[in-house]
């Protein structure tokens, strides 16, 4: 899942060209780098990659997605765990 997220970030950054996105670590808070629309872009990329890899659409966004205190996008590791939970059901 970690690689899938990194791939999605790489794909997104082809368009955004942000230096900060080239130096992602385990504690990266995406809200400090991306605006809300770029978060949506990242969600779409991740959803696309999950669909390609697992053959099913999984909705990543929920009532906490844009909440800076609760969103999994506030920490890279949290995001990976969150996505693993979504994929595994």
């Amino acid at each position: 899942m970690k690689e899938l997220v990194l791939d999605a970030i790489k794909e997104l950054n082809k368009e955004l060209k942000l230096k900060e996105l080239e130096k992602i670590d385990e504690n990266t808070n995406f809200f400090e780098i991306l605006d809300s629309m770029a978060i949506l872009d990242l969600i779409l990329e991740i959803e696309k990659k999950i669909e390609e890899k697992y053959g099913k659409y999984i909705q990543i966004a929920d009532e906490n997605t844009m909440d800076v205190l609760k969103s999994p996008f506030r920490n890279f590791n949290e995001l990976v765990k969150y996505l693993e939970g979504k994929v595994n059901g």
Binding site: L40, L44, E47, Q59, A61, D62, D67
Partner: protein, 350 residues
């Protein structure tokens, strides 16, 4: 959840009038500080290509008036026994715009006329009211819905203004032979997420109401609509799929039986996410928001008149409507449609 089941009631006509001033996202880029890259992202992800607004001074009631006049070219207005006006942009704080429209449209003085203050869920709320009146014994109800959002979205608010369009629809509901089921929810704990803070009794208009305030990278005043986009996004992705499943269950309908899912046109991402989650991408009409903007309570009828007018005019359909937004308020309906009067969307004529 409030649930409503109706039988022997028909929607007879739906007409929508939009503002006659087209604004392309590129025209506003400089005003909002968008570079080319941002314009392209807004187009691609959110579906913001253009929007139609009115010139200053044109009210929602003027758009609804033009829509209703078109309906009365085909239907007998003397039969109308109620007029409901659903909007956040009335002509005056008082009296009700619906009563003013009764006179402008030359309707009988023996009708009930009242306003309802709802936004993006207003089409559903309005239909529930109209169907309830028919269920109580009336024969014909004129429902007017819409907003002149350019009246409450500030020209410097880049979070809200580029997505808003102006529109007013008129819908004629009469005794008939079709069924409809509706569900509705309200949650006032989220009232601050979409709000015009000043100008009511809670915060009366003052000098401060017109002061510009910079917040979230946008500039607005306290007399303008404020939207917490993140909270509204979270709200929409959570409640709308649940709402659609609820109304399908209540109406004992399978999603495969639905010909069209006509949803409030919030933004392209939300619509696509919902459609994908419910696996109904092929039954979702083209996004009205991409061409006309978010038309608030008129976005569902606006979508019908813009993209589905031929099918609504010529076919028997089972349609799912869902509206969600300010309040917070959200509702949905499964409605049988049988060859109604639904002409192509029209621009406002001065």
């Amino acid at each position: 959840m409030a649930k409503f089941h109706f039988e022997n009631i028909d929607i007879k006509a739906i007409v929508t009038t939009i503002g006659n001033k087209k604004i392309k996202i590129e025209d506003e880029a400089e005003n909002f500080g968008y570079d080319e890259k941002m314009v392209n992202r807004l187009k691609k992800r959110m579906g913001f290509n253009s929007r139609y607004v009115v010139k200053k001074g044109v009210c929602t009631s003027d758009l609804c008036f033009q829509s209703a006049k078109k309906i009365f070219e085909k239907f007998d207005k003397s039969k109308v026994e109620a007029l409901i006006f659903v909007s956040q942009t009335p002509d005056y704080k008082a009296p009700s715009t619906a009563i003013i429209l009764q006179d402008r449209l030359g309707l009988s003085k023996d009708i009930i006329a009242y306003d309802i203050n709802l936004g993006c869920s207003g089409f559903i709320g309005g239909l529930i009211n109209a169907y309830s009146l028919i269920n109580s014994g009336l024969n014909s109800v004129l429902l007017c819905v819409g907003d002149v959002a350019s009246n409450f979205s500030y020209c410097k608010d880049k979070n809200l203004t580029p997505l808003m369009g102006d529109a007013g629809s008129a819908i004629l509901i009469e005794k008939g032979s079709n069924r409809a089921d509706f569900v509705m929810h309200s949650d006032g704990s989220g009232y601050k997420h979409l709000i015009i803070p000043d100008g009511g009794c809670r915060n009366p208009f003052s000098e401060d109401s017109l002061k510009e305030v910079e917040e979230d990278g946008s500039v607005r005043r306290r007399v303008d609509m404020y939207m917490n986009g993140a909270e509204i996004f979270n709200f929409a992705v959570k409640v709308v799929p649940e709402l659609i499943n609820e109304v399908l269950e209540f109406s004992k309908t399978n999603k495969e039986e639905i010909d069209y899912f006509v949803l409030h046109q919030a933004n392209k991402y939300i619509l696509q996410t919902i459609a994908k989650k419910l696996k109904v991408e092929d039954k979702l009409p083209m996004e009205t928001i991409s061409i006309y903007g978010n038309q608030n309570s008129a976005s569902i009828p606006g979508t019908i008149n813009a993209f589905l007018n031929e099918d609504f005019s010529n076919k028997k359909l089972k349609v799912l409507f869902a509206g969600f937004g300010i309040g917070l308020s959200w509702g949905a309906g499964v409605v049988d449609i049988d060859k109604i009067y639904a002409p192509k969307i029209q621009e406002y004529k001065e």
